[in-house]
């Protein structure tokens, strides 16, 4: 039995030895900088770590080794994860690959032809390519199936015209996975295909979107007679809706950890911040008892979220499939994360509203940006409300809501 306790312990030893030898200690605490989409300062050791991790296949530990993955079982991957965090090591390739590792890769592995796997998977494993995702359009957000961007069959290639929006990192991406309409006459969901396009071509233009938190990696992407070879259709023709939904489950699964640990709260716990900014009473407790209660409630919420995540991982052991419970976890994670950011702003008081300039400390300025950028967590990857619809329908078995009585 490959996952017997003995075998796992042997693997633990191997993993630890490899990490000790290969992970540059100098970057041990830079993992938090990689949260979300933030760009990370250049660093030779970080580059080295990316190369080593990629070459070993451990940035994508459970992917098949024939395509450059680590070939590990889920249990081994869990052991690896623990060993990494014990050392302060982290996986920077999930950011370097854009949506490659978290979303597109697993979908290609599931639906791709042998040729597509050979072409696309190894560079993802090595963190050499950045993937963007072209799903949303101005009039197709929650209602993704109403998308209009179209691809026409031109014999040996597809011709693509239309607009996508919110394409994260499209300005730096080499590849984009798009949902496009290939049959305008079919019912909404039946005329959609999943197409892969090379971003480096004259038919594709990107325009950045500025967010309330400032500059962002999100773009509007325009296709004007863009092309891609016939072989870049992922999954069946007009069967893109199924492929695309599957990818979204991977997306949700990747968004189930509370991101609230970023910004101010990453470096200091929320209660330490409160002691510093609000002050303490004679017994050393946070001076504002109401705030103290709310912080405590938040910490309990965060703990409950975390325990649920662990329980779900434990229960899913050996079962790589992501399920509808990803919706529960995504909503719980956005609650916790937004709650923490709001509390941080309140605790910092006026100091937490600084936008720029010397009178504010770096972590204060980070807190305000973090609070604002975090507002998107409950919108992207299927909004809070859409996840609730999925929970009601797919988990609880409630009927599709009839809107009017």
């Amino acid at each position: 039995m490959p996952d017997s306790t003995d075998a796992l312990e042997t693997f633990r030893g191997e993993a630890r030895a490899w990490l000790e030898e290969n992970f540059p200690k100098s970057i041990a605490h830079r993992g938090s900088e990689l949260i979300g989409m933030e760009h990370v300062a250049e660093d030779a050791d970080l580059d080295l770590w990316c190369q080593r991790l990629g070459a070993k296949g451990w940035a994508t530990p459970t992917w098949p080794s024939e395509y450059g993955g680590g070939g590990l079982s889920q249990l081994e991957a869990e052991v690896l994860r623990k060993e990494m965090s014990a050392l302060g090591a982290f996986n920077p390739l999930t950011v370097k690959a854009g949506m490659g590792i978290t979303m597109v890769g697993p979908t290609i592995l599931e639906y791709g032809t042998e040729e597509q796997k050979q072409r696309h998977i190894p560079p993802i494993c090595r963190g050499e390519v950045f993937w963007a995702l072209g799903y949303s359009e101005p009039n197709a957000g929650s209602d993704l199936a109403s998308l209009q961007c179209k691809a026409e069959d031109k014999g040996d290639h597809w011709l693509v015209n239309g607009q996508k929006t919110w394409t994260s990192g499209a300005n730096i991406a080499q590849w984009i996975g798009c949902l496009v309409r290939t049959d305008p006459d079919a019912p909404k969901r039946d005329g959609i295909s999943f197409l892969i396009l090379d971003m480096n071509q004259p038919g594709i233009e990107t325009r950045p979107i500025e967010l309330i938190a400032g500059a962002s990696p999100f773009c509007e992407t325009f296709f004007n007679d863009a092309t891609t070879p016939k072989g870049e259709l992922l999954g069946p023709l007009n069967g893109g809706w199924t492929v695309g939904k599957r990818l979204l489950q991977h997306e949700r699964a990747s968004q189930t950890g509370a991101r609230g640990a970023g910004g101010a709260a990453a470096k200091k716990s929320i209660h330490a911040l409160a002691k510093e900014y609000v002050g303490t009473d004679a017994e050393g407790r946070v001076a504002d008892p109401e705030l103290r209660t709310r912080i405590t409630a938040h910490l309990m919420n965060a703990k409950a979220q975390n325990l649920t995540l662990s329980r779900m991982i434990a229960e899913a052991r050996g079962n790589a499939k992501v399920s509808a419970t990803a919706s529960i976890m995504k909503n719980a994670a956005s609650d916790v994360s937004q709650e923490r950011a709001e509390l941080a702003i309140e605790i910092l008081g006026h100091s937490g509203l600084g936008w720029e300039g010397d009178p504010f400390e770096d972590h204060e300025l980070e807190a305000v940006r973090h609070w604002l950028s975090g507002k998107a967590i409950s919108i992207y990857g299927g909004s809070y409300e859409i996840q609730n619809n999925i929970i009601a329908k797919n988990i609880l078995g409630l009927p599709e809501s009839t809107q009017r009585g």
Binding site: S136, N139, G141, S142, D143, S146, T165, W166, I209, E210, L211, I212, A213, G214, Y277, V278, D288, E290, L291, I345, E346, L348, G349, H350, S351, G352, L353, G354, W355, E356, G357, P359, V368, L372, S373, K375, A376, S378, I379, Y380, S383, Y384, E385, N388, N389, S401, Q403, R404
Partner: protein, 382 residues
């Protein structure tokens, strides 16, 4: 709920029209993008001066119109809807009330006419830490032969960079935390030892940290009695809180209207999203809370007017109630506005973010909801 008089209704219409035409949110955005040093548009402020609004609570003898706080609230609410930035609240409401309630005849005639016609900005310099704590004042006013010497720093002073004079909360006795020993001083911005550092906050309005480095003032700079300023300071602050709550009500009301409009127009799944019960119910709950908030804000403003120049516990309760309720509702409403707009709500191009940022800044000013819930309990004696 306060029913507005015909005069107040007319003023409301005037303010609505003026703000929509002369100082709409687009103008605020433009001001932000230009990174205007003052944090407000000078021409807009002059326009407000011409309309006479900075003189709404200034007595007629000093160039004002003395129309009361409910009337002022009506204007502040309408300007709040457009996020109009100006020293109207800081000077016309807070500065004017400080002088009106605590100033001598001479101080009033020196400053109130300028406040009323918007040629002078007088603001209150109270807090010294990131949180509102008037009694926490540590800034010292030492008695000298000729008057007093002020030393200390005030943080996050509203319009502190453009003020002509500050009403400074200082300590002539006691220790930080005590109500006893607080005094108010009127200090001109140009006085030796006064310096300010402009702050850029998320809401893009005008704030500064103001330093008082051994500032020498005469005995005539004292506003009211020495060491006994706490009650009048509370009264000034309560008026500030109720007025700010009116502005917040406007910010929230506009957030609600814009959201409702979006719910009625954005189509997904072949239907306007407001048709989804999950969203319709949230709009309904927001509306209910909006009405509750309005009642609290108007009741506080009306009670101020009815009390004349006196203060009472009942009035203090209403002011804390209105600030706490406005804070909670605006907080909720600004978050709902973003969420219900989906992706567009988090883009800088769309106005929702400007409302969200104003929301948090106003929440923190003159005591957040937590501060006022605590004060409410304390006033009720538990």
């Amino acid at each position: 709920m306060a029913a507005l008089t015909e005069e107040q209704n007319l003023l409301k219409e005037q303010a609505k029209t003026w703000a929509g035409e002369e100082a709409p949110v687009a103008k605020f955005r433009e001001m932000r993008d230009r990174k205007t040093e003052a944090g407000f548009d000078k021409a807009t402020w002059a326009g407000i001066g011409e309309l006479g609004w900075p003189g709404i609570v200034v007595p007629e003898a000093f160039g004002g119109v003395d129309m009361g706080h409910l009337t002022f609230g009506v204007v502040l609410e309408e300007l709040g809807r457009q996020l109009t930035a100006s020293p109207l609240l800081a000077s016309g409401l807070v500065g004017a009330n400080a002088l009106r309630l605590a100033g001598s005849e001479a101080q009033q005639s020196a400053w109130l006419p300028g406040i009323a016609d918007a040629t002078a900005i007088v603001t209150l310099a109270v807090d010294e830490r990131p949180h509102h704590a008037p009694y926490g004042t540590a800034l010292q006013a030492e008695k000298t032969g000729a008057g007093y010497r002020l030393s200390g720093e005030k943080k996050h002073v509203l319009e502190g960079g453009s003020a002509d004079a500050f009403v400074v909360v200082a300590r002539t006795g006691g220790k930080p935390g005590d109500a006893e020993g607080l005094s108010l001083f009127l200090v001109e911005a140009g006085q030796g030892g006064v310096s300010s550092q402009r702050l850029t906050l998320a809401d893009s309005r005008g704030y500064a940290n103001v330093n008082f480095d051994g500032v020498e003032v005469g005995a005539d700079a004292l506003l009211g009695s020495e060491g006994g300023a706490a009650p009048v300071l509370d009264q000034i602050l309560d008026r500030a809180r109720a007025g700010l709550a009116a502005e917040m009500l406007g910010v929230a009301g506009q957030s609600f209207d814009m959201t409702l409009d979006y719910l009625k127009n954005r189509v997904q799944f072949g239907e306007v999203i407001g048709g989804f019960q999950a969203l319709g119910h949230r709009a309904a709950e927001c509306f209910t809370k909006l009405e509750l908030t309005r009642s609290c804000v108007e009741a506080a403003l009306q009670a101020i007017d009815e009390a004349g120049d006196s203060h009472s516990q009942e009035l203090a309760l209403l002011c804390s109630l209105s600030k706490a309720k406005a804070g909670d509702f605006l907080h909720h409403m600004s978050n709902e506005m973003i969420q219900l707009h989906g992706g567009i709500g988090v883009t800088d191009e769309f106005d929702a973010g400007l409302y969200l940022k104003r929301a948090r800044a106003t929440e923190a000013t003159f005591g957040n909801a937590s501060f006022h819930r605590d004060r409410y309990a304390t006033l009720l004696g538990y």
